[in-house]
Amino acid sequence: MSRTGRTKRRAEADGPGIADARAVAAAVVDPELPMLTLADLGVLRDVRAEPDGTVVVEITPTYTGCPAVGVMRADLLHVLHSAGFPDVEVRTVLAPPWTTNWITEAGRRALAAAGIAPPGPAPLRADGPVPLDLGPTRRTADCPLCGSADTEQTSEFGATACTALRRCRECREPFEHLKEI
């Protein structure tokens, strides 16, 4: 990441300042999934300059209760201040809600490379009452270690809100799966 020292900078709409601010913000990583940048995770919605030179960053929470949001906000302020932008405002955006479909292709490859199975497509639903699903969870995930499709879920819930635990029947290794939501 390029740092531009402690010179105070004003971000101007479409100027080089805001492009740098965008690059700096986009490179911040998720505190729980550090192989993913906030841009790859799909939580960085916008980085723009206000007329007074303030950098406004918009982020959206993944899960409503995700405790990582406070750290993301602090990290964004920290790196943007370090890059020379004294006036930074990090705003929360709630709509449209984040789903795993916001994770980029690069993010999915980074997850798999780190041994975490990326999510499949999030379920779409028709209008009307949310259908009840009484069967076993139907999601599948290929083993990120050996590539086998012969895997089974060991727990719907993992160490973080966003992961499930699975095991590969082929190579016998356990792995995490970022579940689609």
């Binding site: 409503t64 405790p67 602090a74 929360t92 955006v93 939501i181």
Partner: protein, 303 residues
């Protein structure tokens, strides 16, 4: 990129350099930067009261679920219940912050020190009579079977309400609901699968889950009885009249119980709202004593 040792510095920076971590000072306003202007023609007090109802349901149910930590039948289930509780706690934070932004703080600010954010003041410094959760979530857990029937009933009702609330005229409520629907869908499926497994399990698990259903069902009356606030806000396109989701909720619950070979208890008789009006049994005060004790005894604690 901030490294481990700088994260806490950065958190301090994000909070005016105080560097203090007590009752939410390390967390952000969950609605930071969100436009919380109350829509034209919507009564502030009603909107705030409604957000307290939905927020308190989530907060109290989350607290009940965490009572299973170290006591659930298997480690994975503790993780599951903690995860579900965390989602609900997140919903509670947004809704309590939304209530505060609408100006509804009750007596909480009279007791909370100025450094405590509004959402924490509402969670930690209101007494039971100011809570607006229903009897369904305030009731003690009972055994694991009863806990799962209650979780099924509470998440089914909440899902039906939030699904409709996505169209609320209040954009903040609509956004909170749209996020919550994704989470509640898997909360409900998780509870429903346990009810199937236990109801259609051994004679003992069947007997105990049936007893749980019999204990939980009468509490549904409190969920479906609309208060004046809900009626007025529903008419204004902001809230959902819980009476309108009754048929959908009881249908889903009956389908799960029947599949689980359980007898569906008789529908509860209509009753005036109690929890939503601040009338609770002693069990809510006991739960709040555990939830609020630390914050009240050490209001400026730092760690």
């Amino acid at each position: 990129m901030a490294h481990e040792e700088t994260v806490y510095d950065a958190l301090g920076l994000a909070h005016g350099g105080e560097g203090q971590w007590a009752f939410g000072t390390g967390f952000d306003d969950p609605l930071a930067g969100v436009d919380t202007t109350v829509p034209e023609g919507v009564d502030h007090a009603d909107l705030g009261a409604y957000c307290l109802m939905l927020g308190d349901d989530a907060l109290v149910l989350a607290q009940r679920l965490t009572e299973w930590i170290t006591a659930a039948p298997e480690l994975e289930e503790e993780v599951a219940l903690a995860n579900i509780a965390l989602d609900l706690l997140g919903q509670a934070r947004l809704l309590l912050a939304r209530a505060a932004a609408a100006g509804v703080l009750g007596r909480s600010r009279a007791h909370a020190s100025p450094s405590i954010p509004d959402e924490d003041a509402l969670a930690y410094f209101r007494d039971a009579d100011e809570f607006r959760c229903t009897a369904l979530v305030a009731a003690p857990n009972g055994d694991f079977g009863q806990t799962m029937v209650r979780l099924l009933a509470a998440t089914t009702a909440r899902l039906a309400v939030l699904d409709r609330l996505r169209a609320s005229r209040d954009p903040v409520l609509a956004a909170v609901a749209a996020k919550g629907v994704h989470e509640l869908t898997y909360h409900r499926d998780h509870a429903a699968r346990w009810v199937l497994r236990l109801g259609d399990g051994t004679a003992e698990s069947h007997r105990r889950t049936q007893a749980g259903a019999d204990a939980v069902w009468p509490l549904l009356a409190d969920v479906f009885s609309p208060t004046g606030v809900e009626r007025r806000l529903a008419a204004a396109g902001v809230a959902v009249d819980p009476g309108d989701v009754r048929a959908e909720v009881t249908d889903v619950l009956a389908r799960v119980l029947e599949r689980a070979t359980l007898r569906v208890p008789p529908e509860p008789a209509e009753a005036p709202p109690s929890g939503r009006a601040g009338r609770h049994g002693p069990e809510l005060a006991e739960l709040l004593a555990r939830l609020q004790g630390l914050a009240r005894q050490h209001p400026t604690a730092t760690w």
